[in-house]
Amino acid sequence: MADVQTTNQSILVVGGGISGITTALEAAEAGYDVVLLEKNPYLGGRVTQLHQYFPKLCPPSCGLEINFKRLKANPRIRFFTMAEVAGISGKEGDYDVKVKISPRYVNEKCTGCGKCAEACTAEVDNPFNYGMDKIKAAYLPHGFAFPMRYVLDPSIVGTDDGKKCKDACQYDAIDLDMKETSFDLKAGAIVWATGWNPYDAAKVEYYGFGENKNVITNVMMERMASMNGPTGGKIVRPSDGKEIKNIAFIQCAGSRDENHLAYCSGICCVASLKQTRYIREQYPDCEVTVFFIDIRALDRLEDFYTMVKEDQKVKFIKSKIATITEDGATGNLVLEGENTNTGEQIKATFDMVVLATGMAPNSIKSVCSADVSCDEYGFIANDPAKAGIYGAGCARRPTDVASSVQDATSSALRAIQSIARR
């Protein structure tokens, strides 16, 4: 890692999701040197875990493939996976950044042949599928993983399994002695594109996420619908693998709620609308109910809402559901709340419930001693008086992919300006 030559003409992009990749590419394709850091073992971030984008219902890997191709073709970008920022100091045009690299236990000799996974017997919760299934402790994070290189879970280092993996590798790619390393780099501008985490649904306690087995979150639904998800793309009840006849979506499960996320997460309405399509495509007879406060489908996304509303099997009820109770015998879920259009009290049974949980930003504050402003929610404020560090995408505001990419593109120019000013 010592060969990372950077200067105050370099742009550092933190976060290798769709926003970070975009910022890096846009700047590099205009002729600037970029270092891109990603904490996961692969690039692509949260969108790699989505089944399809709204409103086109197209797969995220399609655009990622193009972006990876651009990245492969561009020598100005250097990227590091399993890398996190440990500290930022300095000022616009002259930042010092400490980068921490977690051990992957697999070096660059890995060909992706998969022999280590074949040899490994231990299994761990699959983080890519939000723990809904298990994966070998020597694993390729997912089929489209870029770079296509295996990872060893730290739990098998120092065990028989670790040794089995090492022995199985014909290319000497397994390095069980790998340690966390760090290196320093310089940057003239920093774009913080660390994206978001799904808000912890268990915190919205009255929905019983974690206890009620058939209550899942919207991000879990994405994995379930996905071909490379835990169920091979088939949407079924987690408790018993049964098909779905009657499903509910609960909007604002944490968002627009001063007890949780006071802001609106911006995307959950259309995300749920999209997920109603997943359901309806798999189950021509399934009843779908969307419980909402306001449906927020901006600009042309309204067309998508209109299209979903035309589906007679999809009902919309204005209500913030108050309670979910699990029927122990069937695993069915009883939802209670008020239909605020009619004033009636709802008591309805569903076989599965999807919580539209919101976006919580991965904030910069904990690692940055340089001057940067965040709003009260932890989103970067992009204060013009504090140029040099710029938030992009969901690190700046909760928003959808198209807007994130738009924002990431503008961040690339802001970073270039920071360098041009010096």
Partner: protein, 743 residues
């Protein structure tokens, strides 16, 4: 260049277990006179790479065939410099990992892939970047001097580039300058618009040249070499520009169409734009009598989200009405604002402003208007209050403000018509047909491009020249011309500024790439470009019609006039040309044709059919790779041929292949239709259209049409790939062997 070929076969990752390398080397030596053919158990390892490097240095190898893993991996390891021709043969994913057993068929498959690679490099030259004769301009033309346009110009200047700003009005500022206040991040309160400061910053900036009371009369050329004719205050000027940002903004939806809401009937029914102008001018009063206002009702979605008017949501009207309610309260704290809405759409942190508006005591009513009327000189509104579950009436209203939506300024008042093609069924009595929004002839005058495919940016459904792509919001159908702000999509001021900054980024990037002969997205960095052998041109105009990016003009005679800086290198023109006169240095009809010829076709009695599968290299190819990674199996009789885009396929390939005894051809392309996924817009659709016309050829050859099939394959369809292949193989089996085998 004199090609000195080296073939390097990796036997790692299970390849060696499935193939015998020696016969491959023998074949290469015999048939293609390749003298260097080596194998290595770990070619991507340091030793393997060294092996190749030594041959480059020692033996002068400059054309390298690497038969190993997919070209999608180890791209950096097998990069031996721009001056080498590198051809990757996918022995791992497409052979070793996806074939059932080591047998004669697998061996023949591998040998065919080597033959195809040899044939391909035989027709490959190192591309040289295009360089226009004129000097490249690095200035950016910004059309529209509102908030988006001013931002684009300022951000361009801040990055060190010059901008030329053209504004139709005598004064810069657009709607921003007409606003009293703004609402933006952090959405806690209303704030100054900053319009005057921005106008001053633009006017004072030495890097920005401003034309007011001006219009763009004509733009010709292409990225790096645009020539712009501007008419300003009656004078004409010509500027040169490298890229263009179109930020021509929006107009409010015509409230005269909202008679049912009382507009035009009652003086005190006004639009949100009129409200803003009144507030900015000073005091908000009743237009009817100039008296003070106390009770104001805002009707949200006045026209928006209405299939009769604007089916889409105009995004910013909720915030705008809340802002204007604040004006009313500031003027008279006792005033009452009613906001009649469908859904409150304050996304992200702007929910905070909704909270503020509630805190201020504004009355939000979810429901729909039944009637706007007048009684005793005041307005009343009857509505259906959804949450009260009743019909309500709000009386004594001084003002009713219609929150009208945004319409792209370039939306034509009436859909223009052009002469219909002779075979059109939709033509009217005069033989005319309505122009579709995605045509360059749809939008009204903003750029006046001297392009064969129309003077304006093609638009989406409602007239917004936005990107069709989620991942690539700055994707444009006219290279080097980017739209920004509300012309693109309804958006609030803060977002328009971000958007304009992004557009400036893309414009700068396009200029930089163009100046060194590189393509922009999606083939960013590609330096190859199509060359036209004009002597054989028959002026059929197919290339000029089909280019998705309007890169080819034509002269009066119908000869194509390619503009390489506008070109995106998809090869659609190459596929369109029946005379095969268009080719790239490293991609041509002849090249693929030779690859097809290289496939060995066994005799009929061997019962080994041969099928060619053309795959889009962005989507279908990775899907096939993925199927290989998952160790799924498919027939050893298929040969994959990656293409830049299915739009580049030439029908002659079908004819040639079938004539040689190939039993079938399968085309795997992206989804087309309204939600098309083709990154070159129409490639996959064009391929499908072309193939539908192939039946003539098949008839001429007395062949079954089942032998040629187009199928949509998305990048995540890897699980379907083997089934698609099996099904096609069954079809081929049922129609029997191609009778032309052995001719």
């Amino acid at each position: 260049m004199d090609k000195n070929i080296g073939i390097y076969i990796c036997t790692g990752c299970g390849i060696g277990d499935m193939l015998d390398c020696d016969p491959i080397a023998e074949m290469a030596s015999d048939e293609y006179s390749v003298s260097i053919c080596k194998n290595h158990p770990f070619l991507c390892g340091a030793e393997g790479v060294d092996l190749i490097k030594k041959d480059i240095e020692g033996e002068g190898v400059n054309t390298i065939i690497i038969a190993a893993c997919s070209p999608r991996v180890n791209y950096d390891v097998f990069d031996f410099g721009q001056d080498k021709i590198i051809e990757r043969v996918n022995f791992r994913e497409h052979v070793a990992w996806s074939q059932a057993e080591k047998d004669e068929n697998t061996q023949m498959l591998a040998e065919d892939y080597i033959k195809m690679a040899c044939a391909k490099i035989g027709r490959t030259d190192l591309p040289e970047p295009f360089k226009a004769e004129e000097e490249y301009s690095k200035d950016i033309l910004v059309v529209g001097g509102g908030v988006a346009g001013m931002t684009a110009a300022l951000e361009t200047a801040k990055a060190g580039y010059n901008a030329i700003l053209v504004e139709k009005d005598p004064k810069l500022g657009g709607f921003l300058a007409k606003m009293k206040k703004n609402v933006t991040l952090p959405y806690k309160d209303i704030s100054d618009t900053g319009a005057e400061a921005m106008i001053k910053a633009v006017s004072d900036n030495p890097k920005i040249k401003v034309y007011t009371s001006a219009a763009v009369e004509k733009i010709s050329g292409g990225p790096g070499i645009f020539s712009v004719e501007i008419k300003a205050n009656g004078n004409s000027a010509t500027e040169r520009a490298g890229a263009i940002v179109q930020a021509t903004g929006w107009v409010p939806y015509d409230a005269n169409k909202l008679g049912h809401l009382g507009y035009g009937k009652f003086k005190n029914v006004i639009t949100n734009v009129e409200m803003e102008e009144m507030a900015a001018a000073g005091k908000i009063t009743r237009p009817s009598d100039g008296k003070d206002v106390k009770n104001v009702l805002f009707i949200q979605c006045a026209g928006s989200r209405d299939p009769e008017h604007l089916p889409y949501c105009s995004s910013s009207c909720c915030l705008v009405s809340m802002k204007q309610a604040t004006y009313v309260k500031e003027q008279n704290p006792e005033a009452v604002n009613y906001i009649l809405y469908k859904d409150i759409r304050t996304v992200g942190q702007s929910e905070d402003f909704y909270r503020k508006a509630q805190m201020d005591g504004n009355v939000f009513i979810r429901g729909s208007v039944e009637e706007v009327g007048e009684s005793g000189g005041n307005l009343y509104v009857s509505a259906n209050d959804e949450l009260l579950g009743e019909k309500i009436k709000i009386e004594e209203l001084d003002l009713v403000v219609l929150a009208v939506g945004m319409v792209p300024r370039s939306l034509p008042a009436e859909i223009p018509k052009i002469k219909a093609p002779s075979d059109s069924k939709e033509a009217d009595a005069d033989g005319m047909i309505e122009v579709k929004p995605d045509s360059g002839f749809f939008a009204t005058s903003a750029l006046n491009l001297a392009y064969r495919q129309g003077p304006e940016l093609p638009t989406l459904k409602y007239g917004f020249p936005d990107s069709h792509f989620i991942c690539f919001p700055y994707e444009t159908r006219r290279t080097g011309i980017y739209s920004a702000g509300c012309i693109r999509r309804p958006m609030e001021v803060g977002k328009a500024k971000d958007d304009a900054t992004g557009a400036a980024m893309k414009a700068i990037q396009c200029i930089e790439a163009t100046s060194i002969g590189m393509a922009v997205h999606p083939r960013a960095g590609d330096i190859s470009y199509p060359e036209f052998n004009m002597s054989r041109c028959t002026q059929c105009k197919r290339c000029t019609e089909e280019c998705p990016f309007g890169a080819i003009n034509e002269d009066e005679k119908g000869n194509p006039l390619p503009s390489p800086t506008r070109c995106r290198r998809c090869g659609t023109c190459m596929g369109a040309c029946p005379e095969r006169i268009i080719s790239f240095k490293n991609y041509s009809v002849g090249m693929i044709g030779d690859m097809l010829k290289a496939v060995s076709v066994p005799e009929e009695d061997e019962e080994k059919p041969r099928v060619i599968v053309f795959v889009c290299e962005n989507d279908a190819y990775p899907a096939v790779d993925m199927a290989g990674i998952k160790k799924m199996n498919w027939s050893p009789y298929v040969r994959f041929v990656p293409v830049r885009c299915l739009g580049s396929i030439a029908l002659v390939w079908v004819a040639d292949a079938l004539a040689r005894g190939i039993d079938g051809l399968l085309f795997m392309g992206c989804r087309h239709g309204d939600d098309y996924q083709c990154h070159f817009v129409k490639g996959s659709e064009l391929a499908n259209t072309r193939l539908s016309k192939v039946s003539e050829t098949l008839d001429r050859l007395s062949l079954e049409s089942d032998r040629v099939k187009f199928i949509e394959v998305g990048i995540t369809d890897c699980d379907k790939v083997p089934a698609i292949i099996s099904e096609f193989m069954e079809t081929i089996e049922s129609v029997g062997p191609n009778p032309y085998k052995g001719w």
